[in-house]
Each structure stands twice: as structure tokens, then as C-alpha cells.
Symmetry: C2
Subunit: 344 residues, 2 copies
């Protein structure tokens, strides 16, 4: 009878604890979570407002980077997820068809996961002074920063949902029945307020310094860049190599040049990942070629870099938004398996 | 001996489960979490970009509202946290001095908690077409939306850290040693792109329709507005009363007028909360007075409304950002206790 009681108790323990493990689908246990900012500087402006309750002149803080994180118990190395053009950290959260995002899948796999909004995007304030300065005549309209917004039609092609809006790639894994939810993720991109494309894609982009500072806070991290931010992990390695435990570049829009010094990348495991139909895209074909040239040069210089075409490892039909594709869970799992081998 | 074994097992159960309960400080158990958008409409524009890789013409989606949520096991009624002027949903996350935000404290108290970014703010895209139209000359500069940014100096007074920047209120509970982290939370406020102040503060503000839609999705909810959004829960009740289980208006910058119909608010438990030094503030004194007049009229009409000065319930020195004050945990606990009585 006592033994039976013990059995009942043990079964109860198992059931109750079942609700506490980190297996996908069951309840999630968070050791610690929160959000904070990295970086930022104070600037004075006389064009903060026009005709509102708030006065036009004063000090604001810009160039800070918003970071949200969750840590599982018994955590591995941190993973930092960096979104691309015209988007925010939302990229990595729940998918358009309502499944868990990579932000949660990596936590479930044991990685403390940090999701950022690039400087001047989303919850990281853009400085709109030039806009108000133009409105009040304090500055010419030419001084307005070239903020841009990706239209559905343009994004359809560049994110490779199909060859031309609204035609679909028949094999596409993107959940196109929910594309409306994806359009809602798009926001104005203020990267030109930080400088030219050269500045944006170089180490002078304040997001790079902020990512380096983040790794100083949280320790060496796996930096995952996507598209516009595909080159960011490389640039972080250039300014603070010790902060970079591994680089994952998902469909990078830019890569370091093949002639660049490879010193910053030596001994850092690097994975470059490409989806489908890049070779037929006017936007992507030259980028794929340029990044392959960099990868070849890096490999020759002894950098442990791998370039993976997803179609060749069992993931046919991957879109540019592969972290939101219908098989994004499996791609995440594959990435976790790469990580667990690449990073001790 | 058997009984001793049972005891050991039971103690182990208690210890193991201890790590899974929702008590502040210990690990957090999340039944479900994620993010999504509510609302939104497609609009065409010829001013999406100027001189960038993306073309100027096409369709974009605007007026959607970003929502992030976490549900604890055995959940009570949902709580929706709505931020105020010049800020985003970050308001409710980790405090400037690094403690858990109300977003987490409410989850720990058993409430599924929804944090939004108001329409045209943060991760909810602003429509920047008028800006680019001015830059290219397609529209006059006067058509640029009156986006505004709160300076440190102005915010210091309006958020009542002190009577005048940089003087402090000696009794202030705001963690002023970390005010720099608060400045980083501020973003451009595009509410004027939605219409005049009357539109912003009425039911036509698209954030109101989106909040109503949110309650249709998640069921009757406790709506918590703050400052600029203090009137929003009332407006949601005006368009979809069934969605509003209770209203918490934290230092509302606007209230319904005393002469307005009170039908929408009848039978909804309402709590209005004020911090310290409002009466000495040129900005807040008339607002406090107007809201008190509304509360009196509502009470006379039989609406279950309570107005609480925090200083009179044990929380002296509360700033306008009371959810970030050094005693924000205790204020949250007090609010949870009010809620548990007000909402069955």
C-alpha cells in the first residue's frame, strides 16, 4: 500500500514536472527575461516638435539599441538575433502563421536569446529632427533623411515569395496564405539617417558598436544576421573579435570583400545560409556571387567558413524569410545541431 | 522507512516545483507566448522611397498594432498594457534600474498579459510617405505629419521627476540614477499622422478599433491606459463594451467629459490612479481637475469608479512613470489586489 502511494506520488511528480520542461509545445521555463538598451548618445535639437504640447528645443537620446532577452535554466552560449531591412526584431517572434518564432525555439534549445531592434528602427528611436526642420523651414527638404518603406510589390520579389508580384514560386515554403501578417511587420527604415550605404554596411554603423557592447555585457555570443544585417556579425568581429563565438549569416545582402584582411574572422566558426531561387533574382544573384567569392577567399585564408544552400540539406523552397517559412522549426533544429558542433 | 522515503520524495517534489511556481524572483513558467498584429489597412503611395534600392511606388500596410503576450498556466482574465506619449510597449518591460516590469509581474500574478505598441509607434509602422513626398517635392512641407519627440528637459517636468529640469522632487520614487535608460525608451510620436488631438483622443484613433479587435480575439480584458492612452480604455468601452472587464487609467492626460453619456461605462469597474505633485504642475493640475469632474459625474450616474491618490494608500512620491518607480513591484501588487476584488 505504501509502495502504491509512492508510485502515485512519483507519477504525479512526473506529470507536474512534465509541464516544466523545455520541450517544444509544452510550457516554457524562463530563468530570467527582460529588455534594456545598449549605447546611445545625447544630442541637442531645435526641431523636436512643431505646434504640439512639447517644445521644439531640447536634448534627446539617439543611436541606442533595444534588446529583449530570455534565458533558459542551465544556459549555453548567448544567441543574438539581428533583423534585416524594413523590419524589426518582430522578424524572430511568432511566425505569420502563428507558430513559435526562433526567439522561443532557441530558448527551448537551451540558448539565452537576445533579439534587437537595429538603431533608428522600431523601439530604437529614429531621430526625426530633420523632418521637423524641413516642416518649419529651418532646413531645406534635401536635408530630410531618405527614410524608405518596402512596398508589398517590391518585397514580394526581394524576399522571393515569387518571381514577380503576385506570382508565387510553386515550391515556396513561405506561409503565403498569411502574407498579410508579414506586411504588418514592415516599418520605415531610417538606416540612411546613419549615413550612406557604405557607412551602414561598415563598422561605423552605430548598431555595430552597440552589438559589440552587448557582447561585452553578456559574453561571447553567436551573432545571427539576416539580409541587410548579414554583414553585421563580421563587422562586430572587426571591432571586438572576443565577443563573437560564431557567425551565422542568413542570406547576407552584403559580405566583406574577398581582398579584405581575414584576421578578424580567423578561428570563428562561420555559417552562411542561402534559400532557393537566388540565382534567378536580379537583386540576389550578384550578392550570392560576391558572398561566395568572400567565402572562398576566407576559406583559403584558413577561416572555418561553411556555405550551405538549404535545398542541398533537405530544405527545398526556402524563401528569404526562412525563419518564418512553414518548416522554420526544422531549419532552427538543423541550425542548433550545427551550433552544438561548431561552438564548444 | 517507507514513510521516510515518501517524505524525501515529497520534499523533492516541493523543491522541484518551487522552481516552477510563479513567485517573483524564481523561474517563470510560460504556458504560451508570442506576438502578432491587430488591424491594419493597405494603402498605395508613390512616396515610399527616394534614391534607394526600393522603388517609390507601391502598397504598404499601416494602422496595424503590434501585440506581444505571455500566458501563465491556469490563467485569469487578460490584462492589456497600453503605453503613453513618446514611448512604446517598452514602458512596461524591465525598469530603468533593471527590475522586472509590470509585463512580467502580472504574468507571475496569474494574468495573461498583452503589451502593445500604439499604431504608428515602435514596431507598429508609421506611414512616412508625407516625409518622402516633401523630400521629392511631390507635396508641400506643410503636409509633413507633426511627428514630435519629447526632450529630456520637457519630459523631466511632464513626467514629474522634478519641478524643473534638472531639479529633483526630493521624495521622488523614480530611479533617477538610471534616468539615462529612460531617455532611451523615448521614440518619435507619430500620433498626429492619425489626425488632430480630438481624433487621437476619440474613438476614431485606429488604436481604439485595434484594442477592441484585440478583446474580440482574447476575450473581455482589463485595459490599463497610461497618460496619453489613459482615455483609450474608455473609448474602447464606447465602441465594444463587452470587451472591457475593467478599466485602469494611470494618470490619464485626457478623460471623457463630465457631460458625456455614461452608458458605455456602467457596470465596468474603473480605477483612476494619480501620483504625486500633480496639483503643482501646470500641465497636470487642469487634467487632474477635469478627470475628477468626470469621475464625479460618472459616480453620480452609478458607474463603479474609484479615484486613488497613491500617496493616500501608502505610496508617497509616485512619479508619472509609476510603473517604473523604485516601488513599482508594490504598486503592481496593490493593483493586483484591487483587480482580484473588482473582477470576478
Amino acid at each position: 500500500m505504501r509502495s502504491k502511494t509512492l508510485k502515485v506520488v512519483l507519477v504525479t511528480v512526473a506529470v507536474l514536472l512534465g509541464g516544466c520542461t523545455s520541450v517544444s509545445g509544452s510550457a516554457l521555463v524562463i530563468e530570467e527575461q527582460g529588455s534594456f538598451f545598449v549605447g546611445g548618445k545625447d544630442v541637442k535639437s531645435d526641431s523636436l516638435a512643431a505646434g504640439t504640447a512639447f517644445p521644439p528645443s531640447g536634448t534627446i537620446t539617439t543611436h541606442q539599441m533595444y534588446v529583449r532577452y530570455q534565458k533558459p535554466p542551465r544556459a549555453k552560449l548567448p544567441v543574438v538575433l539581428i533583423h534585416g531591412c524594413c523590419l524589426t526584431g518582430k522578424t524572430w517572434e511568432s511566425t505569420p502563421d502563428g507558430r513559435a518564432g526562433w526567439d522561443e525555439l532557441f530558448v527551448r534549445a537551451g540558448y539565452p536569446t537576445y533579439v534587437v531592434d537595429q538603431v533608428a528602427r522600431g523601439r530604437s528611436a529614429a531621430n526625426t529632427s530633420n523632418v521637423i526642420a524641413a516642416k518649419t523651414g529651418a532646413q531645406p527638404v534635401s536635408a530630410i533623411d531618405a527614410v524608405f518603406f518596402a512596398s508589398h510589390e517590391a518585397a514580394w520579389e526581394i524576399f522571393r515569395f515569387g518571381p514577380k508580384y503576385p506570382q508565387r514560386h510553386p515550391d515556396s515554403q513561405f506561409p503565403l496564405d498569411h502574407v498579410g501578417e508579414f506586411w504588418k511587420q514592415m516599418v520605415p527604415d531610417w538606416n540612411f539617417s546613419l549615413g550612406s550605404v557604405d557607412v551602414q554596411m561598415g563598422t561605423a554603423n552605430p548598431t555595430i558598436g552597440n552589438l559589440a557592447s552587448l557582447t561585452r555585457l553578456i559574453g561571447p555570443s553567436v551573432l545571427v544576421g539576416h539580409s541587410q544585417s548579414g554583414i553585421y556579425p563580421f563587422n562586430v568581429a572587426r571591432v571586438h573579435k572576443q565577443g563573437v563565438a560564431a557567425i551565422v549569416a542568413l542570406e547576407p545582402a552584403f559580405c566583406p570583400a574577398p581582398g579584405d584582411s581575414m584576421d578578424a574572422f580567423r578561428n570563428i566558426p562561420i555559417l552562411m545560409v542561402w534559400g532557393e531561387h537566388n540565382d534567378k533574382s536580379a537583386f540576389w544573384a550578384p550578392r550570392l556571387r560576391a558572398c561566395n567569392e568572400f567565402a572562398d577567399a576566407a576559406r583559403r585564408a584558413g577561416v572555418p567558413i561553411q556555405v550551405v544552400m538549404l535545398s542541398e540539406v533537405g530544405f527545398a523552397g526556402a524563401s528569404h524569410m526562412l525563419m518564418q517559412d512553414r518548416n522554420s522549426d526544422s531549419i532552427a533544429q538543423w541550425l542548433v545541431s550545427w551550433l552544438s558542433k561548431a561552438v564548444k
